[in-house]
């Protein structure tokens, strides 16, 4: 397969990035204290659960149409926390899915969370439902489920493609308390105008760490901070070098 090798600069970059992540994961496992700034949207998830318990109504959770990309794994962490809390507090989650492979994973996550809790008998198989593959058909079906089940809160972590506004505004018209998060730039504005709290980009990746205290994710968060500082330094360096006419380093990266 001709031309499939990536270039040396990308490999060098990847080694540096991976090294920083692995170093920080090891440090976190050894007890490094990683402080996470309070993210309102994540705190709001516990508020959403509390609201549902008080009202005696279920919570709706969805991962949208994402298929095992990075936001899906972040959503799994939030779902695990949600299912555990719902099991303990006596309310129940309804998870609707648009992707079959993700549906199978969410079934397993919810079931395991209930079995690990003090109330395994509260688990019901119909908590996790596959609606439809098409984003619009899924959104209409999910909204119908929300209406029929009279959900108190709606948590959307992921993207719905073109159907995002349908889902978000539909949930608002049903008077649900809405929390949303995505790294899909196209859909963020719709979440902002229709939801009570919105998580932007890597805030959803931090969800695993914030909600579960997972040391691996905590380490990655610290690594990400280092990398962002490094990227800012690189951008400034290349900008200054470019202004004074030295383009060789940037050309080496860009080849």
């Amino acid at each position: 397969m001709e031309g499939t090798q990536t270039t040396l600069p990308i490999f060098v970059l990847f080694v540096i990035i991976a090294g920083i992540y692995i170093y920080n994961i090891i440090r976190a496992r050894k007890g490094l204290n990683v402080n996470i700034r309070p993210i309102k949207g994540l705190v709001a998830i516990d508020e959403a659960i509390g609201r549902a318990v008080e009202m005696g109504r279920p919570i709706h959770f969805t991962l949208g149409i994402s298929r095992f990309f990075s936001d899906t794994f972040a959503a799994f962490a939030i779902l695990r926390h949600l299912a555990s809390k719902c099991a303990e507090m006596g309310t129940y989650p309804i998870i609707t899915n648009s992707v079959v492979t993700v549906h199978l994973a969410t079934e397993e996550i919810v079931r395991s969370a209930y079995m690990a809790s003090n109330y395994p008998d509260r688990y019901r198989p119909d908590m996790v439902r596959f609606i439809a593959k098409d984003p619009f058909a899924y959104s209409v079906g999910a909204l119908d489920v929300m209406r029929q089940e009279n959900v108190a809160s709606n948590i959307m972590i992921g993207t719905f493609g073109s159907a995002t506004l349908l889902m978000a505004e539909g949930g608002r018209i049903l008077n649900t308390y809405q929390i949303a998060g995505t790294d899909d730039l196209e859909q963020l504005p719709f979440y902002f105008i229709s939801c009570d709290y919105t998580l932007i980009g890597e805030e959803i990746y931090g969800a695993g760490a914030h909600l579960s205290g997972d040391k691996n994710v905590l380490g990655c968060l610290r690594g990400e901070d280092w990398l962002k500082i490094g990227i800012i330094a690189l951008i400034l360096t290349f900008t200054v070098l470019g202004i004074i006419g030295i383009n060789a380093p940037l050309d080496w990266f860009s080849r």
């Binding site: 001709e2 031309g3 990536t6 493609g161 073109s162 730039l185 196209e186």
Partner: protein, 274 residues
């Protein structure tokens, strides 16, 4: 009747009435001209990879774009290989390619082909980069691709002169950039997008990785003006413009109402304070 019901009814009536207002085409923007020039400057006989990466729901914006682009490409006697990462796009590609192909006197299999949908998204495109026939053993109609004249000089997707991706999501063009252009720097890409899909791809346009794009109905109308054939893009423009004006008016009314209510509440609080 709630506020949003009133808004829905008013919006619906105004947009329906606006559909009967005739509209004229608009002057092309820089980005639309870039797409036009990218196609116009290709030598005759070049091959274009056409991505039909949109769903039926977005047909209102994407089909006018596709018709205008395909008409331009076929008039220039450039070859078209149509593929898709999503399952609904090929149905539209089949209808439009056949219709315009017949109008321009071109032959399926020799001048153009619709290979249809292949599952796997990123993996599929990665494999497509090296060997199209390994991914598509048959075309959309079930014909074997082995001896198809239009695919004779093309081994992988990276061998085409230009890719025109019609996508209702920014992940369409970015997938082709990640899986083909990352490895083949001379792979050229222009796109047709829905209006909402433009912001996330702006960094790629600024860096030159995407040479140009046409946006939604306005872009389709601009392109129709460039090729001199008025179509759905131009006809639908009035309704879209009126709809956008209505939204701006609603924002204004919403803010005026908000300020008015705040003023009244301020007076009430002041009187209670006394």
């Amino acid at each position: 009747m709630k506020t949003h019901h009133v808004i829905f009814i008013a919006f619906g009536i105004i947009v329906i009435v606006a559909m009967f207002i005739p509209s004229s085409g608009k002057e092309a923007s820089d980005k639309t001209m870039a797409v036009y020039n990218a196609i116009e400057k290709l030598p005759s006989g070049s091959t274009i990879l056409l991505g039909a990466d949109f769903e039926a729901a977005n047909r209102a914006e994407m089909v006018p774009q596709m018709e205008a682009l395909v008409r331009h490409i076929m008039r220039r006697h450039l070859k078209i290989i149509s593929i898709s990462m999503w399952d609904q796009g090929p149905m539209f590609a089949e209808r439009i390619l056949r219709k315009i192909g017949d109008e321009e006197g071109l032959t399926y299999g020799i001048d153009y082909v619709n290979l249809g949908y292949a599952a796997g998204a990123q993996s599929m495109v990665r494999l497509l980069k090296d060997d199209i026939k390994a991914v598509y053993k048959t075309d959309f109609s079930g014909n074997k691709t082995d001896d198809m004249p239009v695919l004779k000089d093309i081994v992988g997707a990276g061998d085409v002169s230009l890719m025109v991706d019609l996508s209702d999501s920014p992940s369409g063009p970015t997938t082709y950039l990640e899986q083909i252009q990352s490895f083949k720097k001379d792979f050229r890409l222009v796109c047709g997008l829905t209006a909402a899909s433009v912001p996330p791809i702006m960094p790629y346009v600024e860096s030159g990785q995407i040479e140009g794009y046409i946006i939604g109905l306005k872009g389709a109308s601009e392109y129709e003006g460039l090729i001199g054939k008025k179509g759905l893009g131009t006809i639908s423009l009035s309704a879209q413009s009126v709809g956008q004006a209505m939204i701006l008016i609603l924002i204004l009314i919403g803010n005026l109402a908000f300020l008015w209510i705040r003023k009244i509440k301020g007076k009430e609080n002041a009187e209670l304070g006394k």
